[in-house]
Point group: C2
Chain length 353, copies 2
Amino acid sequence: MEIKITEKELKGTRPDDSSLGFGTIFTDHMFNMDYSPDKGWHNPRIEPFQNLSMSPATMTLHYGQSIFEGLKAYKNTNGEIQLFRARDNFIRFNRSAKGLCIPELDIDDAMEALKTLLRLEKDWIPETPGTSLYIRPTIIATDPFLGVRASHTYRFFIILSPVGAYYSGGFSPVKIWISKEHVRAVRGGVGEYKTAGNYAASLYASEKAKKEGYAQVLWLDGVELKYIEEVGAMNIFFVINDELATPSLNGSILPGITRDSVIKLGKKWGMKVSERKIAMDEVIEASKNGSLKEVFGSGTAAVISPVGEIRYGDEKIQIGDGKAGDIAVKFNSAITDIQYGKAEDSENWIEKV
Amino acid sequence: MEIKITEKELKGTRPDDSSLGFGTIFTDHMFNMDYSPDKGWHNPRIEPFQNLSMSPATMTLHYGQSIFEGLKAYKNTNGEIQLFRARDNFIRFNRSAKGLCIPELDIDDAMEALKTLLRLEKDWIPETPGTSLYIRPTIIATDPFLGVRASHTYRFFIILSPVGAYYSGGFSPVKIWISKEHVRAVRGGVGEYKTAGNYAASLYASEKAKKEGYAQVLWLDGVELKYIEEVGAMNIFFVINDELATPSLNGSILPGITRDSVIKLGKKWGMKVSERKIAMDEVIEASKNGSLKEVFGSGTAAVISPVGEIRYGDEKIQIGDGKAGDIAVKFNSAITDIQYGKAEDSENWIEKV
Ligand SMILES: Cc1ncc(COP(=O)(O)O)c(C=O)c1O
Ligand SMILES: Cc1ncc(COP(=O)(O)O)c(C=O)c1O
């Protein structure tokens, strides 16, 4: 694949690491590639970050045929750029593509596109511990057409955003809220794909949770409203006695890369790890009888996010003593140490750029 | 509301009525209005139809926070412009807005915006029987931000597309296909709102149906995969003996304006109309024992769409004798006669522009 590069004339400068938030600042360049039925994916190019110009009839605006990924590039202690399981993100991207009737990408091409872009934007990767460059590959349906069908044309782009340390205020537990009536996804639907509509479907309950003082929604299954699925933008783990349990991938849960990393490390460490159905009733029971030791979320943004309270109707389930649990801390350190090159990459998860 | 009008200099011309398809040709102008937390909905304007310029980080592209409506303007036999239940479309638009955390519109303002636009574009409304001007009001989330939350800013636009007669080949029955595994929506989700993601979620099964030679998917409920919900872009009616039955609005079905019109007319005509749960098993049984007289869909695009075959797994349920049923024909004539001003508007459904 030959990537045409058009560099921006007046380069911007990366804000001070300490002022970085999430998702508001973008780097100088973006990668673009188009799809048409006759040419396939074509015209790969890196251009200045710029607005898209699109017809108000563009299909993605009306029918939500779009998918995305979220991953990060890290600077290691030698100043090298490290990607964490990026290939797995593009494999998941292709699974989302298939589920949404979008033509798949060549994964080697996608990796090359990303690496070429990162090399050009290397000065945009922050260096302070905990900071990183967030990467957002996206595909949108671009036919200017009103009528429900899969689009014939698409745009694939990658944009980059330098992001601050997630736990600037310390590694402290969050409070999550269970919706007893709202449903994000159901088996047979598109919950397992990283597609736009899943997030729109989560907004109403999320706003409700926020009003009640909770950070995110913990979703129950769409069929029985009984089994735990995942949190807003994280998968979830429960430590019950000596078991590390997480809901199985049943078709309505996003198969998180961080989730998979936790499972693999946990098994390697000799923990009893299970992917299985976890009923909310079981969690309540475990909390009551003292066997619920820890709860934490897993996702690219925060890596591990300890949970200190689960609100379920009128019940408030307190977990731990207001501090992050040992197991959450251990996973968080192990994974971030690999990401930032402070620990040996024993699992072959790192790809240097 | 003061609408600023900027007219296009070189006006386009409407293609010949006989060459009109659906959703590909747009008129010279569009209505635009913006929302921000400090100004509310502001800057209502009619401008030349033009591309939107938006950041690749625009929230609607990533999180699908967008809603739309679909309705039509008709020319009556005196050349006047008629809207059919347009206010009900904007009421539904506001319900979708609420469900997707989008700020609601003032319905009088929205109606005025639409009428002002239609007056300017009156020459774009085709006149041949069966043709009309399709109207697509849309709201998209416009914050350039990566992170899941409701957007703070929005764009509301209305675009217009002249469309051909739906039944150019005669009022003939379509074949529909039931998905035994794919689910479009579930109670507690966003199925009852006209939001982008619902349509993305329908693509995979729709493509499957098309490959098998079926026009659209008939969806079953997401909980039990047992009860009938609706068809791709239509609600559905069954005539079982002397009962006209349609699935009740259970939260996962779009409350169709055409559906409501059929129910109201049916009741007025003294028919036994029920909104209730309809199990697929009941339909199979009714087909076997001869009590299934007719099946038809209802929606803005086709008004009434007679169904000639339902495919359910290996079973093919034939309905009628290959021709549209009497009841379907009666509803189609009654509603289109009102829309085109050929019959008295006894229900007060018409608003002249
Ligand atoms: C719905 C959802 N679940 C889980 C995750 C966690 O996945 P990952 O670990 O790959 O970031 C994310 C975020 O990426 C998500 O959006
Ligand atoms: C999912 C869905 N159901 C039903 C309908 C029919 O609704 P209406 O009669 O208001 O056009 C539509 C189309 O508008 C639709 O998109």
